[in-house]
Symmetry: C2
Subunit: 96 residues, 2 copies
């Protein structure tokens, strides 16, 4: 591959761990396929999981660098870090 990065695993392993879960994979698909913005609550509802569980999954994805959040005072909106996917997992979102 192109430029040799020092310890790529450090970034990649948490990313793959974050994606290696059915619920989080579904969250990523939902975000990819939804034009408008989605809140944590919206997504949690679609996944039919407890809000604390949803929060845990969002944290996992965020800490892996795969999503970002925007707080609108009351509501927290979630979006995909497409740039990160493109850099570390090019093609993944399309094949998902």
């Amino acid at each position: 591959m192109n430029i040799k990065q020092p310890n790529k695993n450090l970034v990649l392993v948490p990313m793959l761990k974050a994606l290696a879960d059915e619920t989080r994979l579904d969250i990523v698909r939902t975000l990819r396929d939804t034009p408008g913005e989605l809140s944590c609550g919206d997504i949690g509802e679609r996944m039919s999981i407890a809000k604390s569980t949803a929060s845990y999954h969002f944290r996992t994805l965020r800490e892996a660098g795969l999503i970002s959040t925007r707080k609108d005072i009351r509501t927290k909106y979630v979006s995909l870090r497409r740039d990160v996917f493109d850099e570390y997992l090019p093609g993944f979102l399309d094949s998902l």
Copy 2:
């Protein structure tokens, strides 16, 4: 993306779980970068892990469909299922 498969997660999640580990990621890289064939022992030695641990990782990768093995009576040779990578994780091996 193209043809809708019934429950893609069933295949994809075990694959991502298999890849979400530093040692197994290194095994995959080693296989990708090595021209000739490699045996289980060869790889285990390079990873500096116990042979039982190596065997466990090979089983994980094999059950995920990512590698295949060829037994030469005494020795077991491991190879990447590049076709599987191309189908489910196109581009991954190149970006790894």
